[in-house]
Amino acid sequence: MGTEESNYSQINPKRCKGCAACVVACPHGCIEIGSEINQMGYQFARFAVRKCIACGMCFYSCPEFGAITVFKKPRKGA
C-alpha cells in the first residue's frame, strides 16, 4: 500500500461488516467501501487515501472488535 511515510488504518476484511461507520467518521475521507465481498457476505471497508492523521475516529466508531488497527508513522529522525 506504500504506507512507509504515512499513518494508516489497517482494516481486517474478515472482521468488517461494511456498516460504513468508519467511512463517515474519518475526517479526511481515507476510508471507502470496496466492491469485494468477504466470507460473511459483506462489502468491506478499505483504507484508500493516504491522508490519515491517526486520530482513531475510525477505530472508535467501529462496532466490531479489532477490525481496525491504527498505525502511526515513524517520527522524523527516529
Binding site: 482513531g56 462496532p63 491504527v70 498505525f71
Partner: protein, 481 residues
C-alpha cells in the same frame, strides 16, 4: 517503524468461540452500537489496569453474550436484575470493579425498580445503560424509551402519548435521587460524540476505582436493523430524533458521594451476629459420625403441599449436621400447592460440583405421577421409596430395590397427613445410612416451623423405624445400597 496507535483492547478475548472455535467477529448486526460501547469499556478497563478484578454483569437482550467478548469475570443476570446482582457482588467482593451493562428494555422496562433502588443506595458500581429506543433482540417492539411517533412492531402507527405514555428519561430519573455521584447521557451519533462517550465511560469507571459511589452513563445507541435503516442513516436519525428527546450532556458529576463507602462497610454485621439475632447460633447440631457407602444423589418428588421441598431441606440439614457436604435444589411449577414439585439433594464427603440430580441413586416418590415420571431415571442398584397410599402400583424396575410404604395412611392414623414424608425419610435413613436417626431427631425440632407438629413428626420417626424393622429383613439390609 510504524507504531500501533489504536488496536483491539486486551480485555476482549482474542477469539469468540460461541459460533465456532477461532471465530473473531461479534454476533452484533452491522452498525450496532453495542460493539462500539464494548470497545470503549474494554479500552477503559485496560487503561485503568482493572481487568483482573472486574466483574461484568451481562443483561438480557442482544448484549446477553457480552461474556463471550470480555475477558473479565462475568455473570449473566436475570432480566433487569443486573443492578441487584451487582449490588450483591459489591458487598461481598470489596475490591471488585462491578459493571452492570443493560439495555433499555432490561433497565427501563422490567428492571426499573432494580436500578432505582441500587442507585438510591449509592452502590459503588458502574452502570452502562444502552438506550436504542426499542426492544432490539426480540424484534423491535416498543420500549419505555421509544419516542413519540416512533414506529415499532407494537406501535405501527407510532407511539402515542395518550395510548402508551411518554418516553422515559432514565438519566433524569437517576439524577433525581440523592445518592449517585455521576450521571451523564452520551450519544454514538458521530465520531466526536463517540469520543465524549469514551470520556464518560472512563470517568464512570474511575469513580468506582476511587470508591466514590454510583455512576450511570446512558448511551444513545443506534439499532439500524430494527429502525429499518442503514448504519449511517441510523446515526443521523439518532442525532435528529433521539437527541432532542434525550438531551446529551452531564447531569451530575460530584467530587464525592453523599456517604463514605468505608462507613457503609462498617455498618455491616458479621454472619455470627446474624445467627445470634435469629437465635440459631447455639443450636447447631454436629454429630459427624456417618461414613457414606457412596455419594447420595437423592430425589424427592410429589404434589406441592406434601412436604416435598421441606423434606428435602430437612434431609440436607441433617447431612450438614453430620458434617457432610450437601446441596438442595428445588423445582416446582407456578402452582405450589397441588402442582408437581421435586427437590434434588446431593450428600457427599467431597465438594459437590453440581446440585442437579438427573439420575438419582435414591428416589422418594409421594404420588403416582412422580413414580411414572422418575422411575426410569434411577440408577441400577439404586432404591425407590414409594408412598404406596398414593402410588398404588408396584415399581416395575427389577434392577433397583423398591420400598412400598403406605406412608399417607400411616400418617393419617398418627393424626396428621403432613408427616408422611418423614416416615419415608426415616426408612431412607435406616436403609442408606446417609444420616442417623439421632441426627434426624435432633434436627426436626429446629427445622419445623410449627412447633406443635414436632411431636407428630417424632412419632412418625418411631413408626418409620417400626416399619423398617418389620419389612426389611436383617440379611437384606446388609446388602442394601
Amino acid at each position: 517503524m510504524h507504531t500501533i496507535k489504536h488496536q483491539k483492547a486486551r480485555s476482549l478475548y482474542p477469539t469468540f468461540d460461541r459460533k465456532a472455535p477461532g471465530a473473531d467477529v461479534s454476533h452484533y448486526c452491522p452498525g450496532c452500537g453495542h460493539g462500539t460501547v464494548h470497545n470503549l469499556i474494554a479500552e477503559a478497563i485496560d487503561d485503568l489496569g482493572i481487568q483482573d478484578r472486574t466483574i461484568f454483569c451481562s443483561p438480557v437482550g442482544c448484549s446477553v453474550f457480552a461474556y463471550y467478548y470480555f475477558d473479565v469475570g462475568n455473570i449473566q443476570c436475570a432480566h433487569g436484575r443486573a443492578p441487584a446482582v451487582a449490588s450483591a457482588i459489591r458487598r461481598t467482593h470489596e475490591e471488585a470493579i462491578v459493571i452492570s451493562y443493560q439495555g433499555d428494555g432490561d433497565l427501563a422496562g422490567i428492571g426499573m425498580s432494580q436500578i432505582v433502588h441500587a442507585a438510591n443506595r449509592g452502590e459503588n458500581i458502574t452502570v452502562f445503560f444502552i438506550n436504542n429506543a426499542i426492544y432490539g433482540m426480540t424484534g423491535g417492539q416498543m420500549a419505555p424509551t421509544t419516542i413519540l411517533g416512533q414506529n415499532t412492531v407494537t406501535t405501527p402507527a407510532g407511539r402515542l402519548a395518550a395510548n402508551e405514555g411518554f418516553p422515559v428519561g432514565v438519566a433524569e430519573i437517576i439524577n433525581s435521587l440523592q445518592a449517585p455521584v455521576f450521571v451523564e447521557r452520551v450519544s454514538l451519533a458521530g465520531p466526536v460524540k463517540v469520543m465524549k462517550a469514551r470520556m464518560a465511560i472512563r470517568k464512570a469507571l474511575r469513580n468506582q476505582v476511587e470508591k466514590k459511589g454510583f455512576s450511570l452513563v446512558e448511551i444513545l445507541s443506534p439499532c439500524p436493523v430494527n429502525w429499518k435503516m442503514t448504519a449511517v442513516e441510523s446515526r443521523r436519525w439518532l442525532e435528529n430524533n433521539l437527541e432532542p428527546v434525550f438531551p446529551v450532556g452531564n447531569l451530575r458529576d460530584l467530587p464525592k458521594g453523599p456517604f463514605d463507602q468505608v462507613d457503609k462497610k462498617k455498618a455491616r454485621i458479621s454472619d455470627r451476629k446474624i445467627l445470634e439475632i435469629l437465635g440459631v447460633g447455639e443450636e447447631e447440631v454436629h454429630t459427624g459420625t456417618v461414613r457414606l457407602k457412596e455419594e447420595q444423589n437423592f430425589k424427592i418428588a410429589g404434589f406441592g403441599g406434601q412436604g416435598v421441598l421441606s423434606t428435602g431441606i430437612l434431609l440436607a440439614n441433617c447431612a450438614i449436621a453430620e458434617g457432610l457436604k450437601t446441596t438442595w435444589l428445588p423445582s416446582y411449577g407456578a402452582e405450589m400447592r397441588g402442582g408437581t414439585a421435586n427437590a434434588s439433594i446431593n450428600i457427599s464427603h467431597e465438594t459437590i460440583g453440581s446440585p442437579i440430580v438427573s439420575f438419582p441413586n435414591a428416589l422418594m416418590v409421594m404420588n403416582l405421577p412422580s413414580l411414572d415420571a422418575f422411575e426410569d431415571t434411577v440408577r441400577p442398584g439404586g432404591a425407590i421409596y414409594v408412598n404406596s397410599s398414593l402410588a398404588p402400583r408396584k415399581v416395575r424396575r427389577e434392577d433397583v430395590t423398591a420400598y412400598h410404604i403406605p406412608a399417607s395412611d400411616i400418617a393419617n392414623d398418627l393424626g396428621g397427613i403432613q408427616c408422611a414424608s418423614v416416615i419415608l425419610l426415616t426408612v431412607y435413613a435406616l436403609v442408606s445410612g446417609a444420616i442417623t436417626i439421632e441426627t434426624l431427631q435432633k434436627v426436626i425440632p429446629l427445622a419445623i416451623k410449627r412447633k406443635n407438629l414436632v411431636d407428630l413428626n417424632m412419632r412418625a420417626i418411631e413408626v418409620g423405624i417400626a416399619w423398617h424393622r418389620e419389612n426389611c429383613p436383617k440379611e437384606e439390609k446388609t446388602t442394601e445400597v
